[in-house]
């Protein structure tokens, strides 16, 4: 390999690809060639860096200078400044949220420097399509060691010591699960990786497969060794074509390199992996539904027991873990369970990747030690709530989770603490809401999701979620009575207790937790027929403040219903409330703040 002076890491995660990083790469390569720098500066396309709202993103090593929102047109100037003149190109740097100062390097950027990367350590650093880069960073060493020098018992012992818990939602101790599968009677066993990632806000699994697929393959092979399985399946949703492509390529490369296939490391242990592409129903992420889907049946959950560890794929003992769970395995094997257990809290070990989204300045993937407070994530890493609005609540765990109000901002983000306030870590979705969010509307949004995603097998979920949705809808329309609130609570409890699988059992959580912290807001909708956040269309009114109205007529021209008319003999406009459909266009278009929402 020639020695390069610099390496340009170009993020090619899903987010950056969609905002145009590939043309930037072409421009960069062309420009480097034109300036005769092609031998000195190397361009590497990596997996997701995490700061998705800033893409396309470039990081230039060895200085770790972090450039954001780079367009192909910026490239000649950037090459000129950075590589020829040796200066940082300031126009493309990030600005600090607090101080407005420019941030030159990744290290200085709070979004990164508060994170601890284990799962994502290679994402954004290596070229995921090149197995050599993975191997160069110690890849497949753990597998080789385990096969040649260790026993399955040793692996499971380390895993138990690490305290790693499943990252797919339920948080079941991984070591215990591996042990179950190892001890389950049966000749044939399987290892399955759950990459269905149905939680609409989460994308860490996708990022790992896109950015560092070999880490998952290696972990699955180690799992195969520990559980004495010789076949693995990765179940990915079809909406993740890039993850599928890169994982396929990685499997191919690993087979060619002898890391997958027969007699690995000249031992008697054989292990191979295939990909199964799922149609992308949320419920297919539930383990029994997922297994049915791999078997070619309808992806519908079944009651447990039997658990997959005893009777899974084709009735055989099956180990099923989430992508992020597998992504922790190699570091645990190489650095030891005790090392991993030193990170995090007493009962929640290691790190967790959260997908930060919503009303927050920096969105994207953040990996932090378990127990990091919500405040640190929101303010230090996330840069706080933009536009001078106030933090209202954070929704964790997506549609199965709950909300955490401002009063609990200092809560440590770990399994136990979140459970205590009625939420869950779940898959790691973290949506920040500000004062403009109506909590009833938020609950209704999640309930609609669950209603659509219910597989329809059991009545509590199939009919119950629909009736819950109906009650919430009534509340947001100002048509509910106080008895409806009681019925809602009763029904939520029933659906939680009676449903067959986790989808139904957790579907009421967003309602129950918003009721717990924002009951007054529900009551305002019901008793006062008012939506305090001014979100629910039926409960708000638009009117024009005549003092502020300049008579520009913009609102009247944009109103789809033609309900805005000119007041006779005056240069003022007025809205006919009877015909207003509350679309809010006038509010959005008025440049003088004359349209008032109340």
């Amino acid at each position: 390999m020639p020695a390069y002076r610099s390496t340009v890491l170009l993020c090619a995660g899903g987010g950056c690809i969609s905002c145009g990083c590939l043309p930037v790469r072409e421009a960069m390569e062309a420009e480097l060639k034109r300036r005769n720098l092609a031998d000195e500066v190397r361009v590497v396309q990596t997996g997701c860096v995490g700061s998705c709202d800033l893409g396309p993103v470039l990081i230039v090593y060895p200085d770790e200078v972090f450039y954001q929102k780079v367009s192909p047109g910026d490239v000649p100037k950037l090459v000129d400044e950075h590589f020829l003149k040796g200066r940082v190109f300031e126009r493309l740097l990030v600005k600090s949220a607090e101080t407005d100062n420019l941030i030159a390097t990744q290290r200085e950027f709070a979004f990164f420097n508060k994170q601890v990367k284990i799962v994502l350590e290679n994402c954004g650093v290596i070229d995921p399509e090149n197995i050599e880069e993975y191997v160069a960073r110690g890849g497949y060493l753990a597998l080789g060691q385990v096969i040649s020098e260790r026993t399955p018992e040793w692996v499971i012992e380390e895993l138990k010591k690490s305290g790693l818990r499943g990252r797919g939602g339920a948080g079941f101790p991984a070591g215990t699960k591996w042990d179950f599968v190892r001890k389950a009677p049966g000749e044939r066993k399987y290892v399955v990786c759950n990459a269905d990632e149905g939680d609409p806000g989460a994308f860490m699994d996708r990022s790992v497969l896109e950015g560092d697929p070999h880490r998952v393959l290696e972990a699955m092979a180690i799992a195969g060794f520990a559980a004495s399985a010789d076949q693995g399946y990765i179940y990915v949703r079809a909406e993740y074509p890039l993850a599928i492509r890169r994982t396929r390529r990685a499997i191919q490369q690993a087979r060619e390199a002898g890391f997958l296939g027969r007699n690995l490391f000249e031992s008697s242990f054989s292990f191979d992996i295939d990909i199964r592409v799922g149609a992308g129903a949320f419920v297919c992420g539930e383990e029994t539904a997922l297994l049915a889907s791999i078997e070619g049946k309808r992806g519908i959950p079944r009651p447990r027991p039997p658990f997959p560890a005893v009777s899974g794929l084709w009735g055989k003992p099956t180990l099923i873990n989430n992508v992020e769970t597998y992504a922790c395995i190699v570091p645990i094997i190489t650095r030891g369970g005790d090392w991993y257990a030193s990170i995090g809290t007493e009962k929640s070990k290691g790190t967790k990747v959260f997908a930060l989204a919503g009303k927050i300045r920096n969105t994207g993937l953040v990996e932090v030690p378990m127990g990091t407070t919500l405040r640190e994530i929101v303010y230090d890493i996330g840069g706080g709530v933009p536009n001078g609005r106030k933090f209202k609540a954070a929704q964790t765990g997506g549609p199965s989770g709950g909300c955490i109000p401002a009063e609990h901002l200092d809560i440590p983000m770990d399994y136990e603490s979140l459970a205590k306030v009625g939420s869950i870590v779940g898959s790691g979705g973290l949506i920040i809401m500000d004062e403009d969010s109506c909590m009833v509307d938020v609950a209704k949004f999640f309930m609609e999701f669950c209603t659509d995603e219910s597989c329809g097998k059991c009545p509590p979920c199939r009919v119950g979620t629909r009736q819950i949705y109906g009650l919430l809808d009534k509340i947001t329309k100002g048509e509910a009575r106080i008895e409806d609130l009681h019925l809602l609570e009763e029904l939520c409890g029933m659906v939680k207790e009676s449903s067959l699988c986790g989808l139904g059992q957790t579907a009421p959580n967003p309602v129950l937790s918003t009721l717990r912290y924002f009951r007054d807001e529900y009551l305002e909708h019901i008793v006062d027929r008012r939506c305090p956040a001014k979100v629910c269309p039926s409960l708000i009114r638009y009117s024009i403040d005549e003092a502020a109205c300049t008579g520009c007529s913009l609102c009247a021209r944009n109103c789809p219903e033609n309900t805005i008319f000119k007041v006779e003999d005056q240069k003022k406009y007025r809205i006919d409330p009877a015909r207003c459909v509350k679309c809010g266009v006038c509010f959005d278009v008025c440049r003088f703040g004359a349209v008032v929402k109340s």
Partner: protein, 594 residues
């Protein structure tokens, strides 16, 4: 099997390892409400009615899917459990159209009964009432999605017991819908019209078209009888009201067919639109005319005695179909063999069982690990056998070898198929199981080998013997199928099956003349036979050519016994009285003998 003991509702009860909690409750007569549970098919735990509390468990669990464990402490009733069950019912009632007063099933509906039992007297949620289709395309059964609770009993029964796999679910969530072959009208689907789904549906969603709205079960009488349509003699229950048979149901208590029937037994025998013979007929001046029983019997006696007088006893023949009951056949022999001394008394389709093998029951077939089906189209002729074979193969992993060209559906499930025409089947079987062959080894290794064979194989005993010799002691069990409902009984009565009408016969009496084989046999010979008397239930070309016609009851109107293919005696019992002018076949002949 080892015994386990549990504490349920504070009481010590016993169960067996492998039982579910529900099974233990059933054994000890502890009521647990269920809706989706159906004995014999796998549990799905969807309806959530059987939720119970297990001490130390994380949450409530369904009794039907949770294995019972020794020492378990279970509570099946509590206020909380009760209210969850009521809430589930309330949701089901709010989902689709359950206005019972317009429903076929009202009074016999399990959902309705559960609602009463749990005191669910109002529904506090708006009725969702999606517009759902009614599938009335099928001649015998109908599907009203508006009453379906998506319990999937029908789906499981159709797949696991019948092996047809015609039903399934489509769409998701609240849009979930029962569908035949993914959305075909039932009539255009792969449904084999066995009616099992209708029988197990707990609500008014799948219903029998003929008996719809004609009475609740408590208004009807139910009589256990046996289907005479083929040599299996499946156990049935005849449901009747006001002198009419409304429907035929499979007898779920039968260890043999266990409630399953085929299209022929459940539907076709009731739904014929043929004209009944309601009075004796006598040919007068070339035309058949109504007559009194006395007149008809006198004409019969006269015709027969004239032939005997002219040509001796050999000029008289009596032929029955082997679907006639033992009692009717005995009466036939009583008059013609014993009284008139005719040498020409026979039963078409009489067939003895092959000697030397224990008869295979349907139970044996379902539990077999190797099935050899040779020379028999079970799908067409004895469909309930086909269901049992499918069940063994698909649900329990039995190996199936098919010899012969028939049995199309089963060919798909077979591991070996040797096509052969019916005259080559015996030879093909012999070749397949020749000394040293793979198949012979297979038979030797099998723990429970069962042969299901048709006439072409029973006709060549050596072929069967060669194939069977390697099997372990007491095996193979053989189900030799026979052409008619009472083939075995007829053979045991000494009647031979070949009885074509001998040369010189001048008068013939035909019993059970509705059998089409009778027709085929007598049509060409009609002119040689001077006098023809027919006992039949329906008008037919054979009846039209007779000189005397004696109306006979149909099977749902008569008593008697038959011997089925396995050599087991099965009974016919009347569910309704025959029409006024119709007399029992045996009684009529007994009267003649006097």
């Amino acid at each position: 099997m080892s015994e386990i003991s549990l504490t349920i509702n504070g009481k010590q009860v016993k169960g067996e390892r492998g039982d579910t909690i529900l099974k233990v409750c059933e054994r000890s007569d502890i009521y647990v409400p269920t809706l989706c549970h159906y004995g014999g098919v796998h549990e799905v735990g969807t309806c959530r009615m059987c939720v119970v509390e297990v001490q130390g468990g994380r949450a409530l669990t369904t009794a039907c899917t949770t294995p019972a464990e020794d020492g378990m402490i279970v509570k099946t009733e509590s206020d909380a459990i009760q209210s969850l069950r009521r809430a589930t019912l309330e949701l089901l009632f709010s989902e689709r159209n359950h206005y019972c007063m317009f429903c076929e099933a009202s009074g016999d509906c399990e959902l309705q009964a559960l609602a009463y039992r749990h005191g669910m007297d109002s529904v506090r949620y708006p009725n969702l009432y999606p517009k759902m289709e009614l599938d009335t395309s099928h001649p015998y059964l109908a599907l009203d999605q508006n009453r379906c609770v998506l319990c999937r009993r029908c789906v499981r029964v159709c797949a696991e017991l019948v092996g047809a796999h015609s039903l399934g679910m489509r769409e998701r969530g609240i849009e979930t819908l029962l569908a035949a072959d993914g959305g075909e009208p039932l009539s255009a689907s792969s449904c084999v019209s066995c009616g099992a789904c209708v029988q197990v549906c707990p609500t008014g969603a799948l219903f029998d078209r003929r008996s719809a709205y004609r009475g609740r079960e408590k208004d009807c009488t139910t009589v256990k009888s046996s289907c005479p349509e083929c040599a299996l003699g499946c156990a049935v229950e005849l449901v009747a009201r006001s002198g009419q048979v409304l429907r035929v149901e499979g007898d779920v208590e039968s260890p043999e067919n266990g409630g399953l029937l085929c299209r022929r037994g459940r539907y076709e025998s009731l739904n014929g639109h043929r004209e009944r013979v309601l009075q004796p007929l006598v040919r007068k001046g070339g035309e058949l005319a109504s007559a009194s029983w006395d007149e008809a019997l006198a004409a019969l006696r006269a015709g027969i005695e004239a032939a005997a007088a002219a040509g001796g006893a050999g000029a008289v023949a009596a032929v029955a179909s082997a679907r006639a009951s033992n009692e009717a056949l005995a009466a036939l022999r009583g008059y013609f063999q014993q009284k008139l001394d005719s040498p020409n008394v026979g039963a078409i389709g009489a067939a003895a069982s092959p000697d030397g093998y224990p008869a295979a029951t349907l139970q044996d077939i379902r539990q077999a690990d190797l099935i050899i089906l040779a020379g028999e189209d079970a799908g067409a002729n004895h469909q309930v056998v086909e269901f049992a074979v499918s069940q063994a193969v698909e649900q329990h992993g039995a190996a199936l070898i098919v010899v012969g060209s028939a049995a199309r559906r089963l060919q798909k499930q077979a591991c070996v198929v040797v096509p052969a025409g019916s005259d080559e089947v015996a030879r093909a079987l012999a070749t397949l199981t020749a000394a040293g062959s793979e198949s012979l080894k297979r038979i030797a290794c099998a723990e429970r080998a069962v042969f299901v064979v048709g006439a072409p194989v029973t006709a060549v005993p050596q072929a069967l013997a060669a194939a069977a010799q390697s099997a372990r002691d007491g095996w193979p069990r053989v189900l030799a199928l026979a052409p008619k409902g009472n083939s075995r009984g007829a053979a045991q009565a000494g009647l031979n099956g070949g009885a074509s009408v001998a040369k010189g016969v001048k008068a013939a009496f035909i019993m059970a003349g509705d059998d089409t084989e009778m027709l085929d046999r007598f049509l060409p010979q009609r002119d040689e036979i001077g006098f023809l008397a027919v006992q039949a239930s329906y008008r037919s070309p054979l009846v039209e050519m007779a000189d005397v016609v004696l109306p006979a009851p149909v099977w749902t109107e008569k008593a008697g016994t038959m011997v089925n293919a396995q050599g087991r005696e099965v009974s016919l019992r009347p569910a309704v009285a025959p029409p006024a002018g119709v007399r029992d076949e045996a009684d009529v002949l007994a009267a003649l003998s006097q």
